[in-house]
């Protein structure tokens, strides 16, 4: 039976793993390769690396760490951040990443998703979506350039519409980052994830809000997501992956031990 995936997310800035609260005030957590290796050995099912400086700085970012990760880890990993073209994606995949995730550049030019699908196949194409609940309008809206507080801005897209659009363009997986929940460890945004699950026919990964083991059980049972992404609870040692997997198996969730 296909297992639900636990996915530590490593935000990368200048080759170091960092973590902020609600996308701000980033602190350095550690070096990227040993952390990646540690997570792979601890039982992570997959890793995501977000180069959070890339999209917002508009500069060419050194991605040689991708190859160094590919050398040591034996589980799949995805690289996000600053991938604006087929050529950018090709370089990352050539260095050994299994998937690329696009976010702001896909909002700027949605054709990018179709191009990536055509050249590399659907399975390589992940679309990351930063979704923020706007109290005034009562709607979930898509934000871009979330790596840089000063440039973060609302887009014209409602989250539901963008989820439909990226699927129509050939996305192979969607990572839905619920910004209101990010880094505050109060639980995944079950209401939003459940509503997006209904219209998401490709694998859906929950992101933002994990604080306790129960939050993982909740997101798998209530929102039926395919994977759960988390950062701070893993980086800070609040939750150990082996213990989490044991708990999820006890809770009846399909998990790779």
């Amino acid at each position: 039976m296909l297992a639900k995936r636990l996915i530590p997310c490593l935000d990368v800035r200048d080759g170091k793993v960092v973590k902020g609260v609600q996308f701000r005030n980033h602190e350095i957590i550690g070096d990227i390769v040993p952390l990646a290796q540690r997570y792979a050995e601890a039982g992570a099912d997959e890793l995501v690396f977000y180069d959070i400086t890339a999209s917002s700085d508009g500069r060419v970012v050194d991605k040689s760490w991708v190859r160094r990760i590919a050398e040591v880890i034996d589980i799949p990993f995805c690289v996000a951040g600053g991938i604006k073209s087929v050529a950018d994606a090709g370089k990352i995949l050539e260095m050994g990443a299994d998937k690329v995730s696009v976010n702001s550049p896909a909002l700027a030019r949605p054709e990018l998703i179709s191009e990536l699908n055509h050249i590399f196949g659907q399975q390589c194409v992940v679309v990351g979506i930063d979704s923020f609940f706007d109290v005034a309008s009562g709607q979930y809206q898509v934000y871009q350039f979330t790596g840089d507080e000063n440039r973060t801005q609302k887009t014209r897209w409602l989250t539901r519409d963008w989820v439909a659009e990226v699927q129509a363009r050939g996305a192979g997986e969607i990572v839905l980052n619920c910004m209101n929940q990010d880094g505050v460890r109060q639980g995944y945004d079950i209401a939003q994830l459940t509503s997006i699950r209904d219209i998401c026919k490709v694998p859906l990964i929950a992101s933002g809000g994990a604080g306790t083991m129960a939050h993982f059980t909740e997101v798998f049972t209530k929102a039926d997501v395919d994977g759960a992404l988390a950062a701070s609870v893993f980086h800070k040692g609040i939750i150990e992956i082996a213990a989490l997997k044991a708990k999820l198996i006890t809770d009846g969730i399909s998990i790779r031990p």
Partner: protein, 197 residues
Amino acid sequence: MQLVIVDTGCANISSVYFAVRRLGVEATISRDARFIKAADKVILPGVGTAHNAMAQLQQADLIATLQGLQQPLLGICLGMQMLTSHSMEGDVPCLNLIPGEVLPMQSAGLRLPHMGWNTLHSIGSHPLLKGFSDSDYLYFVHSFAVAPSLHSLAICHYGNDFAAVIGKDNVVGAQFHPERSGKTGARLLQNFLEWQL
């Protein structure tokens, strides 16, 4: 041992190269027919679409070379699919080394692509699968698959059964990614490296 990874121009070549290097084997990545013919063992990786990958092999004039190999040949993911007779992904003839056809997955309503860690069943006694059991998880990413047949060495279930590992004579293939399947995947690669015809 001379291990050659066929340079299909596909994305997972580095991953496969690093995976065998972790097992102590320095492979050569090549699209030169002479190197491939002279190798002790050959791996055919693949990510992308069957149509593009077969075109790459055609362009590099490697089809006859791969069809004529007598030494162990392992196809991975799309590389495995290319070992069969035909793929409906782009309606393209394949290498025809193992009978079978690649069809869109019939997942009985389950989400596609089939992406993530899954288990095997009906595991055969082939040397490639030494030490495997139905509680081992392997990493899959695909939307097309080969139906179970006499040439299936292990089956995976996702909505319906499909061939997870196939084999005939000197040729074997895995639908999952051993290079990305942790210690279990490494075991399959190790078995391949140790396999004596």
